[in-house]
């Protein structure tokens, strides 16, 4: 029997996600994939592997088991996680054996966490990707009792490791200032409108999903501009569109490919993680940058990505923990899974 990941309990929004399906825009299919692709890069570094499919966990995780020894990388928004009752460090990879119970609770900060097995998820692919694309009926939300097929883990017994200090992107879970680059429709907005947008304070709104993130503000939206008469144009993740009542929405992985709402700018790729991982409380501010700064920022971001592996460090476990580990294993079957409450 081939290996599998068994889901005993699932939060309401779990789905399999990878880097999506690029290059199908002409046929109306947006890229989709993980809301926070950086988390998949982090998992790849921790697992010494290429970026692979993960379970995306918005807000709440679940309870998981495996049928063969492997490792699990825990990346993205930090969540409360235990293995047979022993707390697991986040931004880290840990060995897991059949019979052990992995419980992942709620996010401590940020929005969406990722569970990536070292034995790569081997569900059926569509156009080269295993990512669920929920609003077009590709894949589905994961449910309790679902079983995901896994491939073989090339190094199931590699010891636990973590990203030192959370890694180079470890500060993206608490909002902050997000840099915008001008887009094809930025010139439709005047200077006063752009200034008003950059002076406002935004938070994540409740009407956020895998298609878009609502940006709420107490400021009167003087940056609103009606679309009147403009033909719909290509749109993509990162674009900030101004909807009919002036509310900005950041387009995300499952956005449409063509849209009619005017777009005031696009979030620089280096700041997308900070945007998508800003929960309902952290404040977000938008600022426009020029192309020289945008190019320099992209170079810095790319260099940081390349250095991810260098921040992977062995996780040293206190030997005194080991007797506790064994005792927790004995009672693991009767814990109530309160983390999901």
């Amino acid at each position: 029997m081939s290996a599998a990941l068994i889901i005993d309990a699932a939060g309401p929004g779990l789905s399999v996600q990878d880097l999506g399906r690029p290059l199908h825009g002409a046929q109306g299919l947006s890229r989709g994939g993980a809301l926070d692709p950086l988390a998949l890069q982090e998992a790849a570094a921790l697992l010494h592997a290429k970026p692979a499919a993960a379970i995306e966990m918005p807000g709440i995780g679940g309870t998981f088991r495996v049928t063969a020894p492997t490792r699990i990388a825990l990346t993205g928004a930090p969540m409360k996680a235990t293995l047979d009752g022993t707390p697991l460090r986040w931004h880290a990879a840990h060995p897991i054996a059949p019979g052990q119970i992995l419980k992942i609770g709620g996010v401590e900060r940020g929005v969406v966490g990722y569970l990536t097995p070292g034995a790569a998820i081997a569900t059926e692919a569509f156009l080269g990707s295993r990512a669920a694309h929920l609003n077009i009926g590709i894949g589905a939300l994961l449910q309790p009792a679902d079983t995901l097929p896994l491939s073989d883990d090339p190094a199931p017994h590699r010891p636990a490791c973590h990203l030192r200090a959370g890694g180079p992107f470890g500060a993206r879970f608490t909002g902050g200032t997000v840099r915008l680059i001008p887009g094809p429709q930025s010139a439709l907005f005047d200077d006063a409108q752009r200034t008003a947008l950059t002076a406002a304070t935004f938070t994540r709104g409740p009407r956020s999903n895998r298609q878009a993130m609502q940006l709420l503000s107490d400021t009167e939206p003087t940056w609103h501009r009606a679309a009147g008469g403009l033909a719909s144009e290509p749109i993509q993740a990162g674009d900030v569109q101004i909807t009919g009542d002036g509310t900005p929405y950041l387009l995300l992985a499952e956005c449409q490919t063509i849209g009619g709402y005017p777009r005031i700018g696009s979030v620089h790729p280096a700041d997308m993680g900070r945007m998508v991982q800003a929960g309902p409380k952290p404040e977000l501010h938008l600022t426009f940058i020029g192309w020289d700064e945008a190019d320099a920022l992209l170079a810095t971001h790319t260099a940081a990505l390349a250095k991810l592996a260098a921040s992977v460090t062995p996780l040293v476990r206190d030997p005194a923990d080991i007797p506790d580990l064994l005792s927790y294993q004995l009672i693991s079957g009767v814990t109530a899974g309160d983390e999901l409450g």
Partner: protein, 241 residues
């Protein structure tokens, strides 16, 4: 006033860090649509280009590598001819899609006919006589924007949204859109087809292409039901040499 209206088309504008938008017109025109399609076909062959996405009046071109050489190559292609003067092309593929105008399949037919100022019978006659082209594929997978219909169909989209089912053919602004999945829309549903523009299980999940010509054949609601079981929902495709 559109502050860009005075800028002569086409415009070359950055779209994110790895793409450009070439805009041939801010508002829909048939010459700009032809330009967008033709430009996409040629831009796809430029060195470093990874993806082209022709929309209604603009084309997105994604590239790998530095921005400056990509921009220069695109500007050279823009300058190589008068894209807005391209003559109409002949279609290379012609589809015939079955349409039911019966009852629940056409809840907005009366409203569309009224807005167009014709009887429902005349509205159906005009749709069946139309040979619209696929102007762009987008919004949702495989979903076609088709047009143009005669001038009387130039009524606006509704501000309120109504729900339409998969296969709904909807009209507004002289265009038709065919919905792949149930969706809220401001367009008005004038008919329904058994053809689905997105079928993930098939070898060609999004069978329509921008530039295809579309014709419609009227069937009854019950015939439409049985056609749904056939390949491509009973749609027929003719390839011209």
């Amino acid at each position: 006033m559109d502050p860009q209206a005075h800028i002569p088309a086409p415009q070359l504008l950055p779209l994110g860090m790895d793409a450009y938008l070439v805009r041939f017109s801010a508002a829909f025109t048939e010459p700009a649509n032809r330009a967008a399609l033709a430009f996409a076909a040629e831009a796809a062959d430029l060195a470093g280009v990874t993806e082209v996405l022709p929309a209604l009046t603009s084309t997105m071109v994604r590239f790998e590598g530095a921005r400056a050489p990509a921009r220069d190559a695109l500007q050279t292609l823009i300058d190589s001819r008068d894209w807005l003067a391209l003559p109409p092309t002949s279609p290379t593929r012609i589809w015939t899609l079955p349409l039911s105008f019966d009852g629940a399949d056409a809840p907005g037919l009366a409203s569309a006919a009224q807005q167009a100022g014709v009887s429902e019978t005349e509205a159906v006659t005009q749709i069946l006589a139309a040979t619209p082209r696929v102007l762009a594929i987008g919004f949702a997978p495989g979903q076609p924007y088709m047009g143009l219909l005669p001038q009387i169909w130039d009524f606006p989209r509704q501000t309120g949204l109504t729900s339409v089912p998969a296969g709904a053919l909807v009209a507004a602004i002289r265009q038709l859109v065919l919905f792949a999945n149930a969706s809220p829309t401001g367009w008005v549903q004038v008919a329904r087809t058994s053809f689905r523009p997105f079928s993930p299980g098939s070898s060609d999940p999004t069978p329509l292409r921008a530039g295809d010509e579309i014709r419609f054949a009227r069937v009854s609601a019950s015939e439409l039901e049985s056609l749904a079981q056939q390949p491509l929902g009973g749609a027929k495709r003719e390839d011209l040499a």
